[in-house]
Amino acid sequence: MAMTDMTIVARSLSLRRFSTATTALMVAVAVALLLTLLSLRDAARKSFERGPGTMHLLVSADTGPLPSVLNSIFYARAPARPITWARYLSLTDATPDNPRRLPLDFAVPVQQGDNYQGWPTLATTREFFDRFQPDPDAERDPSRRWALAAGRFFEKPFEVVVGAKAAAGAGLRVGETIYLTHGTGNSRSGAGGMDDHGHVHREYGFTVVGILAPTGSAHDRALFTDLIGSWILHAHDRREREGAKGLTSEADLTDADRLITGIYVRVRTRPGSDASSAIGPVFEMIRRQGDLTVANPADQIRQLFVIVSNVDQVFVAMSVIVLISSGLAIMLAMVNSMESRRRQIAVLRVLGAGRGRIFSLIVTEAAIIGAIGAAAGIVLAFMGVQVAGAVLKARLGLLLDATIPLDALLPVAAGTIILAALAGLAPGVSAYRTSVARNLRPLG
């Protein structure tokens, strides 16, 4: 087989295999670091953007719109202040004689505060599954609607449907009976909730009737149960404190027991459309009522990313600097190897290789080190995002569906190869200028 420039480059890399391997490893670590950061950022952004699902507005009694969104959509903490059921009914009263009626498509009540082994519970109504959808594109793409991996949705109190991640994490199956924890007991997300006692409700078992298919949203790590069952649970606490005996039923509920922590609101839209000119007016109408916090989740998430992006740009910039440093490492390794390869260069010149060809051999060699490093870095990044995802879940309870985005992978890989080729310019120029006469001694 005839020899090619690539044969010479490959042999040269193989002759300096230790230097090649260590330099490529440096590039790989830098590429992996950058890709892992970019993929985590991308996963976080997607997760947050998907979070509001098909709701337009979120109503709560939280102190501000951002905490409201973080608590009621992303399960950061259980909201501190409740909304009474009467207030919910007055807000959503759609009867024609209500002068303040709102043009709503849905207004789904939700209540947080309980958890199972740290996985947050959301008590709600069947509207949550029937009207609200976890993905903003669910109206256009039915495959993005709620779907069950097993069982069915809840139909009555004390039935629970489990999100995909929560089911996997807690090892839950359809048919099991579970006991919810109220408040801080064994809970990450119940801290500071409606009622901060932290104890297990042993009196009322909840039957797992369904496991949800993954949605890629924060809801994957929650459990969903009927609102009335949750009210009964908390009413039972009240009645115990009051000295009442026996189990509590729906008939024992008072207005003080009927509390929710948030309302997922969607303004009426034309079929197939997600936008509505009524969102702004409805937002203003609720805001003017004064006693509730209303948030446009999409706006809040955008603002959150504006704040976070400054920090995340610093991290990305730092990893780009690490990548540039690895390019310098390629340059240094090749410049250092130049002394030992000048004779080879001189021989190739004697055989007929032009200066330009020698230059391109060196630059190609540098680019190949970059390509090897980029390939290894991509493999490392795939492992890195899994590890980072696991650490974020374990430390922060943050669930990210992290995969390396193709629109980051290709530019990073191409950029690394170009950077490596640029790093080959200095040794390439040195090779270009190699004196044949001086390097073929002893000549006589």
């Binding site: 005839a2 020899m3 080879q344 021989v347 010149r349 055989l351 007929g352 290789a353 002893p442 006589g444």
Partner: protein, 229 residues
Amino acid sequence: MDTPALSIQNLTFRYRPDGPWVVDLPGLTLARGEQVLLRAASGAGKSTLLQLIAGLLDPASGRVLVGGQDVHATRGAARDALRGQSIGMIFQTFNLLQGFSAQENVLAALMFSSIPRAEHAARASGLLRTLGIDRPDAPAEELSVGQQQRVAVARAVACRPMLVLADEPTASLDPETADGAMRLIQETCRSEGAALLCVSHDPRLAERFTRHEDWRGLARAGGGGGGAA
């Protein structure tokens, strides 16, 4: 009449503008297939002369024609191509490519030749077989000195050159081996139709050449003797 393999006309060279003349050669001509021994003492500047002929150095004045082509009238890639296609070089220390096999060393020379790529492998194998290399795939540095010499000869003639330049080809060999090596170089050049200019200070080589030239006799008064810097 055939164009000479090599024609040198009034060639001068010095390394620094104010330095001594290292080469000052009024003329030297080699006919096609002719073999000439150019005798010169160590440091006389004979390696510099070979590099001038190969186009690796530029003269202060004069012309070098290889197969009628003015080496220094071409520049850059054209001159490199002329060297790769028309000139083979054999060195005292062989200068084989380390880490490459015997076969690859010959293939490396063929890369820059005008021989079609499809013929490279067969040409390299054939030459090495003819020259008695029984391990063409062995790394060059693992071969014996004699075998390395043969690989260097095969590499020099691989591109079917018009001219082979041999620079002290026997200086690192014992007398018995040197005679065999020189015979091999001469026979190979003859069979490949290449002219041979062998520069050496080894008096034992004289009997192997019918035409001898002496550096001092060729060079103008005061020229030569600077040595390669």
